[in-house]
Every structure is written in C-alpha cells, then in structure tokens.
C-alpha cells in the first residue's frame, strides 16, 4: 500500500511539474502576474509530493518490505538500520528518486527564499527547473519504477553490495547529488536570464549563493568518496581517475570556475555571457556524469546497447537539455551587453586566467574520460586511458593555476601593477624558498615531484595569508594590533576565500605526500613475521576470526615499531570480511593516522602454505588531504554566511559596495 502511494505520488509530481513548467513560462511572456504566481506554490507542492514518494521508498527499506523488487535486490533484513536507509539510494531507481527529490528541493528553496527576485525571472527559473524535473520523472515512470512489486515475494533480500555498507558511502551519494543537482538551479537561472535577455550584477548576486551551496556539497561529496576509496578498497589510493570519479570531478571544475566568474559579473558587470555559458556547462557536466554512471556505457558500450531504453532516454534528455540551452545561448547571448573594461593585468584578468585554466583542466579530463568511448563506438577498438594520462595533463595545468593564484588574488580590480604585487609577495616568496629547501633536503632523493608539489603548497599558503594580512593592514602606518583587529572584522566572504585557498594549499601538500612519497611492502607472512616499510617495522602478531552483525571477519593484528629504536608506535587491525548473504568479501584496512601520515595495513588472501598476503604502507601526509577538503568546505560555508551573499538578500538596486574579495590596495572599510 505504501509503495503504491509512493508510485502515485511520483505520477502526481509529474503532473505538477507539467503545470509548473508551462503556466509560469507563458505568464512571464505575457507579463501576467496571476500565471507567474503559479510557479512558487507549484514548486512547494512538487517538493512535498516527491518528498512523500521518497519517504515511501525509505519506509519500504526500513521495514524490509520484500514485496518491492528494489528492496529485494538491495537490502537484507539483517543489515544495520543505517545501511537499510542508505540502501534506498544505493541503486539505480532509488538514486534517481533522490535526484528528482533534490531537484524539487532546490525549486522549493527558490520559491520560498526568492522573495526579492523579480517575478518574471523567478517564474522562468522555476519553470525551467520543473522542465528538468519533468524529464527525469518521465524517465523514472517509463523505465525505472522504484516501487515495482514482486510476486510471489521472497522472504529474504539479496543484500546491498557490502562495499557500499560503510558510513563514508552512506552519505557520499546524497552529498554528491545535492551538489550535482544544486547546479541545476544555477542552470535554470542562466536559461531564465537568457530568455529575459538581461544579466546584471544583481543576477550574479542571486546566482552566486546557489553556486556556492552546490559547490560546497559537491566538494564534500567528492572528498567523502575519496576517503571511502582510501580506507575501504584496500589499495591505499585516494584518487584513481576512474571514469565515475571523473564524472563528479568535471562538474566540480566547472562549478569552481563559475564561482569565480560570477564574482566578476557581480563586481564589474562584465564576463556575463561567459558566466552564463559556464552555468550551462557545469550542469551539462552533471547530466553527463549521471548519464555515464547510470546508463552503463562506462562498463561497456555493449552494456549500453543491452539496456537501450534507459540509455537512450538519458541520452535524449542530455541532448535536449544541453543542446537546447546551448542553442538558446547561441541565439540570445550576443544581445547581452558587455560591461566594465579591464586590463589583462588586473583582478578581472586573473579571474579570467583562473577560468581558462580550470576550463582547460576540465577539457583534458573530459577528453580522457570520453575518448575511449567514442573510439569504441566508431572503430570497435578497445583502449583505456589510465591515470598516467591524467597526471600528465592535469597536473601541469594545476601547477600554473596555483602559482598564478598566489599573485592574482593580490591584484586590484580594473588595472593592476604586477611589480607592485610581486613586491608585496616578498615575504611569501622567501617562505616558499625556505620550504622548498627544507623539502628538497628531506625528500629530493625520493621524489623531486613531491618537492615541487610541497613548494607549490607553501607558496599558495603563504600568498593567501599575506593577501589577508595586507588587506587588513595595507600600510605600515596602521599598527600591527589594529591590523589584527581589522583582519578579524573583514567580511566573511573574504575569510571564506582565504580559508578555501588555504585549504587548496593543504590539499596539494597532502596529494604530494600521499601520492609521491608512499612506501609500500607487499609480502606473504604468518603471525610472528615482521616486515620493514621505510622507517617502520610491521609485525603480524596474530590472525583471529571475529563475527560481525552480517559477516564473519578474519582479523590480523599488526604491531608497528620504529625500525631503528624499536619503540612501539601503533597497533593496527586489518580485516577481511565475508558477508553472510552473498558471500562477497571486503577488506578493511587497519589505519593509524597523525599529521605526519598514515600507517596502513591490509590482510590479504591466504597463500597455499598457510601464510597471508599482506600489503603494508607508510603514506606521508594523508590526513592533510582530508583537512584540506574540510577547509574548502568551511571556506564555502563561511562565504555563504556573508550577509551580502545570504540567499534572498540582494535586490536589484545594484549598489556596488566593496565586497570580498575586494581591492587589496585599499582599506577594507
């Protein structure tokens, strides 16, 4: 009964979406207030109905209702409650339901908080949003009904893939989806603005908080996924350049670029058409990501052909959404008026450089991800493009970006003075040189690339701090104490930028350490054996059988000591779990973390003569990855709480108060 209610709610939502997409659009064209006013309540109803539908599916999972096909395939009565709930979105149909629910949530948020929006812009935005929702709802109702019943119903389900039964992964998809789908509202704003034919500073101020919100969730979602891969897959890596990862990374790069270009539109009323294009591209990447992950083309173009309904439908959706909006862009964008002028050496110029580099990076990732697919479709030749390609193309672009970021953030608007800025970065340069020297002494032998990465991190960190400080204390006439007071009083958006940029520096440091300085030993051994990994000795002390709630585990205990002094450092427990329901095995790595890095031990398969395969790592600076990601998220949240960026706050008065990140050459007040 509950499942039927959920299905009914889904159909009802489609009807509401149809009304919401048609009526306000016509209303806006005719300037008919009553018709435009349909949009907001429709968006709220839409969210209510889809929320109900989603709740129905969660209910079916929590109560282990094995008369629903979706629950049979992805749940098991013995599963802990958290994973029963997360099983809801751990599959194709359920994750689509989450998609549309989040789509409707963003529509509802705009309806509820967009009181200051001009009525026609609001009506058009909500109408476009409903159009996207309608497309996905049709897809679900026609090809992927999550509420399908099974008859006769089995007594037990087949369980969720045990790799997905993990707290990190329970929250990774919803976070990522809020990010992906959050970009939909930015897209809707962009398309609405194209239809209106008007993009101004106020538009940018409405769009920025939404971009920022989506970006924050996208960042958190990607970081969670990376963290999960690191400790769950037992390979000790945090990023594989896997197509599924790239699918989430491309929208992130585009959203990051958009975040920065929107600042230029807001402050200087220029780069409008580029910003609109980025908004379309960012959501386009989200759709492509969904297509790649959901259609099965990634596993093989043949998998795509074997389930043609779904694949073709998403492809169609993709073509209509991206193609349609780009056509609209081509038609309307030339009418957008260009605004403020700037020199290449200026903050605008720096932000353009940022955008060019981020776009180039996104393009290389895009080509690397999709080229093998195209080649297979066209020639039948099967190739793969591995991590070396991405490291080779992506890393140099990021290197340039980081160096430019240190300088660019210091630039004043309109017209900058490169030598002046470089002078102001003397302290940062000295710091970088010293850190480069220290890193070279410690690590040059092991990896020159790691030293360069650490140098880049030091440069960015120092330049970011210098930027904040010089903004608070632009001249020596201000006392240091006053400088501190003024620094604390800087707008939240300024702090947000500083924290986020600093986070990038920390992240780069973590990447350099974790990917280039890892020491690894693969061996076979039995309890009592010990192995040297870099400066550490790992001793396997015992292997025992331990029961879990829905699995049996073999747990290996490792005692880690200092290889020279023999001092005890850590005890690690690595497990191999075998799940009762499906017999799948998973690996749980034993990890001990501190700021210096991780000690990581994996108990592998048994060998023929009763020993165990072991994989032991020393991974320097891994926690910096997670700290850096947290700082990025924190920076985004800080910016979001800035009074002037608060959702719904701006009006079209267009008062151009100096806002973060503002002119560094002038006092902040």
């Amino acid at each position: 009964m509950i499942a039927e209610l959920g299905h009914f709610a889904l159909a009802l939502a489609a009807a509401v979406a149809l009304i919401q997409s048609v009526v306000p659009m016509i209303g806006a064209a005719r300037q008919d207030g009553a018709m435009m006013a349909v949009a907001a309540p429709a968006a709220l109803v839409q969210f209510g109905v889809l929320g109900l539908s989603f709740a129905a599916l969660v209910y079916a999972y929590v109560t282990s209702d094995f008369s629903v096909v979706n629950v049979i395939q992805n749940s098991h009565s013995l599963k802990p409650l958290l994973y029963k709930v997360s099983g809801t979105w751990g599959n194709h149909e359920g994750s689509l339901l989450l998609w549309v629910t989040v789509l409707a949530l963003f529509g509802a948020l705009v309806a509820a908080f967009g009181r200051n929006l001009p009525p026609s812009l609001k009506a058009r935005t909500l109408s476009v949003q409903a159009l996207i929702t309608l497309g996905f709802l049709a897809f679900m109702l026609l090809t992927s009904n999550p509420f399908e019943r099974a008859f006769p119903s089995p007594i037990e389900g087949t369980d969720l893939n045990p790799l997905l039964q993990d707290p990190g992964l329970a929250f990774h998809p919803p976070m990522l989806y809020v990010g992906y789908v959050g970009l939909s509202i930015v897209f809707s704003f962009a398309v609405a603005a194209l239809i209106e034919g008007k993009v101004d500073a106020a538009w940018a101020r409405w769009v920025r908080p939404w971009t920022l919100l989506a970006w924050v969730f996208l960042t958190a979602g990607i970081a969670l996924g990376s963290w999960w891969a690191y400790y769950e897959l037992g390979w000790g890596g945090f990023w594989y350049w896997d197509p599924v990862e790239n699918a989430s990374f491309m929208p992130w790069l585009a959203a990051t670029a958009l975040l920065h270009s929107a600042i230029v539109v807001e402050k200087r009323d220029t780069l409008k058409s580029w910003t609109i294009l980025l908004a379309i591209v960012a959501f386009g990447f989200s759709l492509i990501g969904t297509f790649l992950v959901r259609s099965g083309v990634l596993t093989s173009v043949h998998a795509f052909a074997s389930d043609p309904d779904r694949g073709i439908f998403i492809l169609l959706l993709l073509v209509v959404a991206i193609g349609g909006s780009l056509a609209l862009y081509a038609w309307r964008a030339p009418q957008l008026k260009g605004g403020g002028l700037f020199r290449p050496i200026s903050r605008e110029g720096a932000l353009v450089l940022n955008n060019l580099l981020l776009s180039a990076a996104a393009a290389t990732v895009f080509i690397g991800t999709l080229y093998p697919l195209f080649l297979e479709v066209l020639t039948g030749e099967k190739i793969s493009v591995g991590p070396p390609y991405f490291n080779m193309t992506f890393t140099p672009i990021m290197g340039v970006l980081v160096i430019a970021l240190g300088i660019g953030a210091m630039m004043p608007w309109k017209r900058g003075d490169l030598s002046g800025v470089v002078r102001r970065l003397t302290a940062a340069s000295v710091f970088t040189a010293v850190m480069l020297g220290v890193a070279a002494i410690l690590y040059w032998e092991r990896s020159a690339l790691a030293v360069l990465g650490m140098g880049a991190a030091a440069w960015l960190a120092a330049a970011t701090v210098a930027q904040l400080w010089l903004r608070a204390r632009p001249s020596a006439r201000i006392s240091v104490a006053d400088g501190f007071r003024r620094m604390v009083d800087l707008p939240r958006a300024a702090w947000g930028m500083t924290v986020a940029h600093f986070g990038v520096a920390v992240l780069i440091f973590g990447v350099a350490g974790a990917s280039m300085l890892t020491q690894e030993t693969i061996a076979a051994g039995k309890p009592g054996d010990s192995f040297i990994v870099g400066d550490y000795t790992f001793a396997l002390t015992k292997v025992e059988r331990v029961p879990g709630p829905n699995y049996m585990a073999e747990r290996g205990t490792f005692l880690v000591t200092d290889a020279e002094s023999g001092a005890e450092i850590a005890t690690l427990a690595g497990e191999r779990r075998r799940y009762v329901a499906g017999g799948e095995e998973t690996t749980e790595a034993g990890i001990q973390s501190d700021l210096g890095g991780d000690l990581y031990a994996v108990l592998g398969q048994p060998t023929d003569d009763g020993e165990w395969t072991l994989r032991l790592y020393r991974k320097p600076f891994v926690p910096w990855l997670w700290i850096g990601s947290c700082l990025l998220v924190l920076g985004g949240l800080l910016s979001l709480t800035d009074r002037r960026l608060r959702v719904g706050a701006p009006t079209r008065s267009g008062a151009s108060d100096p806002r973060a990140p503002a002119q560094s050459a002038q006092p902040a007040e």
Binding site: L164, G234, H302, P344, V352, P388, Y389, I397, E584, R615
Partner: protein
C-alpha cells in the same frame, strides 16, 4: 578611465582581443598536453587468443581480459606474496604473474582485467588486476576477449553496472 587615450569601443575590442588570444593559447596548451598524454599513455586491449597468436610484443604494455581458469590460482607464498594464475577465453590461455593484493572479488571462474606486459618467457607480468565490484558482473573486457575468440555464449544478457543488480523485468 581613458588614460591611454583610446575610445571605450577600441579598448573593449582590445580587451576582447586579449581574451581571445589568451583563450586560444590555453586551448593550444590543453590540446598539446592531451596529445602528448595520449601518445604515451593509451593502453590497448588484447584477449588470450590474440596473445597466443603472437600479436603482442614482449614488454609492450596492454590490458589482458578473460576468465580466471578453474584450479589455476597458486600462491607459492615465496615471501613476496606472488600469485600465479591463468587467464583464459576458453580457446587459449595466458599465464599471469602478479605480486600484490588481488581485488576482493577475484575468484576462479570469474572475469578479470589485468594491466601489464609479457616477459621474455611469454608470462604476463601484471601491475594491476581489476575485478569489478559485483558478483553478477562480467568485465566488458573479459566478454570482449571471449567474443574475439568466438567462445562467448551469453549474448544479450544484461550486463550490470558495478554495484547494481540488473532490473528484474
């Protein structure tokens, strides 16, 4: 504003020129990087039959796909954790050596994909062994290998994506 003595229209044109030149140079940079990346890092795929026919030179890096032959997995436990197994497409076999941890879903009779190169003795030395994260799932490359060898029988069976069971309809 017009310190340089140019009219706003000309300055706007100049700005646009800078943008276009900047954009094009980055496009060139990106294209260059992509081409260089592709030249060195594209890895081709071969099945056991093609390997047996001598289509691959020793030391050439490629991806090998197929099924793990029943009863072929041996872990001599020589202290370095080396595993030996045979990859088959039910027509030809290739012996594989791998020092490392096999993925959790590695089983005899299951499809796998391995990245590596042949050594002088015709043994495939794997750097990486992949098995996708689903019991129902057969890696596309393993299927491809059997198709190329003409031993594939399950055409039309819906292939599930990692972690997701195929729809029951």
């Amino acid at each position: 504003m017009s310190r340089s003595g140019l009219s706003p229209a000309r300055r706007r044109k100049k700005t646009r020129l800078y943008l276009v030149v900047g954009g094009l140079s980055f496009l060139a940079l990106a294209v260059g990087l992509v081409l260089a990346g592709f030249r060195d890092n594209i890895v081709f795929f071969f099945g056991p039959t093609e390997v047996a026919a001598g289509k691959v030179a020793a030391d050439q890096k490629f991806r090998l796909g197929g099924l793990v032959k029943d009863g072929s997995v041996a872990r001599p436990g020589a202290g370095d954790g080396t595993v030996f197994f045979t990859v088959t497409d039910n027509a030809a076999d290739v012996k594989v050596r791998f020092a490392g941890l096999l993925p959790d879903l590695f089983r005899e009779g299951q499809g796998i994909v391995a990245l590596g190169a042949l050594n002088g003795e015709g043994v495939f030395v794997a750097q990486e062994v992949l098995a996708k994260h689903d019991e129902n799932y057969m890696p596309a490359e393993a299927v491809e290998a059997m198709k190329r060898a003409g031993t594939w029988k399950h055409e039309g069976e819906p292939a599930a994506e990692g972690g997701y069971a195929p729809a029951a309809d």
